[in-house]
Amino acid sequence: MWQKARLVERRVETASATTLVFEPEQWDGHLAGQHADIRLTADDGYQAVRSYSLAAPARDGRIEFTVQRVIDGEVSPYLCDDLPEGAYAEIRGPVGGWFVWREADTRPVMLVAGGSGIVPLQAMIRQRRAVASRVPFRLLYSVRSPAEVIYSDELARPSLNGGLETSLLYTREAPPEVRRPLGRIGLADITAHGWPPEFEPACFICGPAGFVEAAAKILIALGHDSHRIKTERFG
């Protein structure tokens, strides 16, 4: 059930988020949106388990996670800063068969991310690209500031993202050319940048619990059917 996985690469994404690439002993692929549980064991035998979304399709038997450091957290600062390349962690997965996007589903997709909630949604974007799907995607991504946008280079490259429209919603600090007032995601954002309910999109919302609840309420208020809305709360 638990297997060892070796950390083979570490990539800094932002000041507070790092991507970790692992090589598990065996991996048979996964669905976009699934996660794995990571278990760390201290010298005294104490164990901690946390869930992390699989950030990209598996490649050459390698899988990756993007971990956002939670101040004073037990596990995330260690993963972000301390686990050395070449070291092992234990992994259980892939798991979770509900919060997933399958390319056979051809409905338009609306992704709503708050902070590190972008990770499983980016996995869906990357899967869409990997299979050359033409399903239209819209991403609304709420972040504090431009410096905190995870995957910013990748999201900004039009050549990678045909058929994906990305809207960044800043809450604390924005580039000067942005006209939207700073603030949390609101009805106007989803009306302006999301799909209308008549298009019957598949909706995925991920992020901190408060963000997820607020965004889900807006979608319902706009007339989206709750059966089309999937949510995942990170903390």
Partner: protein, 88 residues
């Protein structure tokens, strides 16, 4: 900070003992009759075990406690779990 997350986090623990994915299963609350995916339940993970509650009436639907050798699962708060049979 909110102190609860949701049923998506139950996937790993229950995958150890059940073949089908639990998060996509439909659960009916024994308290109020609400039916929805296990992923949608409110989950409190800080307790010694993990407690999943109904989002509508807050009744405890599932309780999970894990020791190094055993996993205890209480489902008395549910009147059913409905699984889609894989491959159907």
């Amino acid at each position: 900070m909110n102190d609860h997350i949701d049923g998506n986090m139950l996937a790993g623990a229950l995958w150890q003992v059940f073949r089908p994915d639990i998060t996509a299963a439909q659960a009916r609350c024994a308290g109020c009759g609400m039916v929805g995916p296990v992923a949608g339940l409110t989950v409190y993970a800080d307790a010694p075990g993990t407690v999943a509650r109904c989002v509508r009436c807050e009744q405890v639907n599932l309780q999970l406690v894990q020791s190094p050798t055993d996993l205890w699962l209480s489902t008395t708060g549910l009147s059913f779990l409905r699984f889609r049979i894989p491959g159907q």
